[in-house]
């Protein structure tokens, strides 16, 4: 089907970016639309999605956590323990310092006098931090790495609650594009599959775009998801131009009346300038009418350490990330880096991956998350 090759049109006029062609041996170019109009039995979809707390309960409690602080006073050992539990959860030195400095101030001002109050205050601060759209303990406008300013101590002011809804513009003639980005191996393709399942279940007609043309068999993996959830998929040649794939998906979506394109992209380290350029191009191309990029979701693995903050910053600079999907939170990793990301970049977690099953993607709940974070 050479006649069906992905059109080079979107690429025209733009310098080729990304990995050198020929890096992967080319499968032959193909665009495949494995559409399954009649979606079979939806019975399985009806199973209630697991709640955050239920899923996390399975793994937590291993740590005695901060329970040992309860029923005691506040002494130097208490601070050490608090610090350690935050650091162990990957919250990071800067954010930990900021949180603890504020607590120290409140202890000095006799606002807090027992271990119980201290733990509660910390939990409260963390939940607030994750719930409101306001950078906390960071000088205004400072999104920089020097986020080590001590907490100003002024607490929270006029702060709006964070919206975790995935933006969908329900307009005639608009194809919403949700772009999934992130480093290698965080679970982008799987996340696209799970989101597709939920969106299809909500009655939206989604089309998947296999924008990962680099990793061997990534297209196959997404196609399997498409078949599983009953959505169409647009694929390009392995090693081909991912922008062309996404462009083509938008065109097809418009032609077929799909209102949503879920675009997978190849994993890329934020340090690879040419690959980040490639991603920018994908975003530009995806936003050409009738396409409209309404979400750019950074997929982040819960095991990620301090580098997660760097990733979030770089991807946000490049493609204006709108939210984080925190995956693999069903393991022993606590994903505390999202606290630092929220604090320094104001970037909210929108979804949480709690397992490999199609239903294991749930909305983020700050209180449950913090409960699990502190063990």
């Amino acid at each position: 089907m050479p006649g069906e090759t992905v059109p080079g049109a979107p690429a025209a006029g733009e310098a080729p970016v990304g990995r050198p062609a020929g890096e992967a041996p080319l499968a032959e170019a193909l665009v495949e639309v494995a559409d399954r109009a009649e979606v079979e039995d939806r019975a399985e979809v009806a199973a209630p999605a697991p709640t955050f707390r239920e899923r996390l309960g399975r793994t937590r409690g291993v740590f005695a956590g901060l329970r040992s602080l309860r029923g005691k006073g506040v002494d130097p050992a208490t601070w050490d323990e608090l610090e350690e539990s935050l650091l162990r959860a990957d919250v990071g030195v800067a954010t930990t310092d900021a949180l603890l400095d504020d607590l120290r101030r409140r202890v000095r001002q006799k606002e807090i006098s027992s271990g119980d109050q201290l733990v509660e205050a910390l939990e409260g601060d963390l939940v607030d931090l994750l719930s409101f759209d306001r950078r906390w303990g960071v000088a205004a406008g400072a999104g920089s790495s020097s986020g080590r300013e001590p907490a100003s101590g002024e607490g929270f002011e006029a702060a709006g609650p964070i919206s975790r809804d995935l933006r969908f513009d329900d307009e005639e003639g608009v194809v919403n594009v949700w772009l999934f980005v992130g480093v290698n191996g965080v679970g982008k393709t799987t996340t696209v599959g799970k989101v597709a399942r939920q969106q299809v279940a909500m009655g939206r007609s989604a089309l998947l775009a296999a924008g990962d043309t680099f990793r061997a068999a990534a297209g196959e993996q997404l196609a399997m998801w498409a078949e599983r959830v009953g959505a169409g998929v647009v694929r390009g040649a392995e090693g081909g131009d991912p922008s062309a794939v996404v462009f083509d998906a938008v065109q097809r979506a418009a032609a077929r009346g799909n209102s949503l394109v879920l675009a997978d992209t190849a994993g890329r380290l934020h340090t690879k300038v040419n690959l980040v350029e490639e991603l920018k191009k994908i975003r530009r191309v995806a936003g050409r009418p009738p396409g409209r990029v309404t979400e750019v979701l950074l997929v982040l693995d819960a095991t990620t350490g301090q580098n997660g903050l760097v990733q979030a910053r770089q991807f946000t600079e490049a493609v204006a990330v709108t939210g984080v999907v925190l995956t693999k939170l069903d393991g022993t990793a606590k994903g505390g880096i999202v606290v630092a990301i929220q604090r320094e970049l104001g970037l909210p977690v929108k979804l949480v991956g709690l397992g490999e099953g199609p239903e294991d993607l749930v909305p983020f709940d700050p209180a449950d998350f913090v409960g699990a974070l502190l063990g």
Partner: protein, 529 residues
């Protein structure tokens, strides 16, 4: 990786430089800084604590060492502790008799097991082994397909069947025996350590194939959880070692320290890029040097030795000695350099790379090289042999032929002229003048100063010390550094790190002798990809 640690250490050392001796307060301050650096590098909290304790003890025991400044004393203590924690020395791989040697890969989802399996297979193939890949990841959609594609790329057979992981592993091992393969690499599905069912499954796989090496694949970006993960896999599978992946990002890879510190198993391999060749044995001592900003020259030299075509190296080394350096030589060297892997990756191995330079190295676009190559390939042999015949109309033709502009052609010719000047002056026994660095090649991305910087006397001295070569001028390595763009003398490195003042043939013998010492004489020229 570890950038912040080396930056911080530099600061600490600088701060302490003015002091006559190390006071307790200075030491406390320095250790606090070290702790923060470790934590920011994702070193596990407990490991960071004992690391700092170890450094403190080393410093305390150093009282007698009057020859060191306090700053040097701390840096030395950190270095020693790093080497100690990272594992002392490289794991010596041995091979099973009768074959095959069975290698089992395990790890969390997304740590890079499948890619690593293919990289391992390629690595062993280069060592002259004959591996079989077994795809026992039946969990992730298309994982086996991915392995098959990668297997084709590295030219290694992939075995799998749609049964269950234990059966696949068993049958795969049988297949390896039947085909007479000496290495059998089993790729397994990613799994969480708390998933008892899957942990039992991987244990059954392990029971069936009885691996000689069970290697845990860990992402260098992993945070505090690395320790819990490694411990759980170690409890289940009795790990033989660790493979660290995605070291090419800017993650500081504290996981390396943590895992080694807690599980006590060495890091055997490290993966430093997306290309299948970006993979090699992990050298803890070199890593410690790299952390301290001393570069990884040994790795670079080995990489060069493996990748370069000895004959072509000897040929152009001979020409260089005569002070000749034509565009043909340039082109040939470009081919050689390309075999080394990405230019940015190579540059990161060089000593003296500051943070800024490392970032700049990340931005080197290897396709600039392709452009330069295209220009040269658009010339006639006559033009390459004697660029002075290239007049205005030839320039236009060359530019058109290579899809570049006449400015690009002019720039290349200018660079070549300067390199030729340099080569001549080197052949005449003069030292290194300043060298036009990567500035031109990298499209002006701020690397202009690189050549000069890397060619500095100080670096050369450091290099000579590191290389331990008896060379008189050190131009061999000097050239490598200075010419990162045009690279005339990279060959000299491949030819045993000897300065081009010696005969090519001798240089080549030197290289062989060196290989023998290091690798038991087994150097397989890689396939050109």
């Amino acid at each position: 990786m570890f950038d912040a640690l080396s930056d911080r250490l530099e600061r600490i050392a600088g701060h302490l430089r003015s002091r006559g001796r190390l006071s307790d307060a200075d030491l406390d301050e320095a250790l606090r800084e070290i702790r923060v650096a470790l934590l920011e590098a994702d070193v596990e909290v407990g490991v960071a604590r004992s690391f700092v304790q170890g450094v403190r003890e080393r410093c305390a025991g150093e009282v007698l060492s009057r020859s060191l400044t306090p700053g040097q004393q701390v840096v030395k203590a950190v270095h020693e502790e790093l080497v100690a924690v990272l594992g002392g020395e490289t794991l010596k791989l041995t091979y099973a008799s009768p074959p095959p040697t069975v290698v089992l890969l395990a790890g969390l989802q997304g740590s890079g097991k499948t890619t690593t399996a293919a990289k391992l297979a390629r690595w062993w193939k280069q060592q002259g082994r004959n591996p079989l890949l077994v795809g026992a990841d039946l969990q992730r959609p298309a994982a086996v397909e991915q392995l098959r594609v990668l297997g084709r790329q590295v030219g290694v057979t992939v075995f799998s069947e749609p049964t269950d992981p234990v059966s696949v592993a068993r049958a795969g091992l049988e297949e390896a025996r039947r085909l007479g393969r000496d290495i059998c690499i089993v790729d397994t599905a990613g799994r969480l350590t708390i998933d008892q069912e899957l942990m039992d499954e991987v244990r059954r796989v392990s029971d069936v194939v009885q691996p000689h090496y069970t290697l845990l694949v860990i992402d260098a970006m992993t945070g505090q959880d690395a320790v819990a993960t490694a411990r759980a896999f170690h409890d289940t599978l009795e790990l033989g070692g660790i493979i660290l992946t995605k070291l090419d990002g800017d993650a500081r890879g504290g996981a390396a320290l943590s895992v080694k510190g807690v599980v006590g198993r060495p890091i055997v391999f490290a993966s430093t890029g997306e290309k299948l060749g970006d993979f090699d044995l992990f050298h803890p001592d070199r890593m410690a040097d790299r952390i301290l900003g001393m570069g990884d020259v040994l790795s670079l030299i080995e990489q060069a030795e493996r990748a370069m075509d000895k004959e072509s190296v000897a040929r152009s080394a001979g020409r260089l000695m005569e002070g000749r350096f034509t565009l043909d030589d340039f082109l040939e060297q470009l081919q050689q350099v390309k075999k080394l892997g990405s230019l940015g990756g190579v540059m990161k191995l060089l000593p003296g790379m500051t943070k800024e330079l490392r970032q700049a190295a990340d931005q080197i676009d290897d396709r600039e090289l392709a452009r330069v190559e295209a220009i040269m390939r658009s010339m006639t042999p006559e033009e390459r042999a004697d660029p002075s015949v290239i007049d205005g109309s030839r320039r236009v033709r060359i530019a058109r032929g290579s899809g570049t502009s006449t400015q690009d052609v002019n720039q290349l010719l200018k660079q070549h002229r300067e390199m030729q000047k340099l080569v001549r002056s080197m052949a005449n026994g003069n030292g290194m003048p300043g060298m036009p660095g990567l500035g031109g090649l990298s499209g002006g991305k701020g690397l202009g100063g690189l050549g000069g910087l890397l060619g500095s006397r100080k670096q050369l001295a450091a290099l000579r010390a590191l290389g331990g070569e008896p060379g008189d001028g050190g131009e061999g390595l000097a050239g490598l550094l200075a010419g990162s763009g045009g690279l005339p003398p990279l060959d000299a490195v491949a030819a045993g790190g000897r300065p081009p003042g010696q005969s090519g043939a001798r240089g080549q013998r030197g290289a062989k002798g060196k290989n023998k010492k290091k690798k038991g004489g087994r150097v397989t020229p890689p396939k050109d990809r």
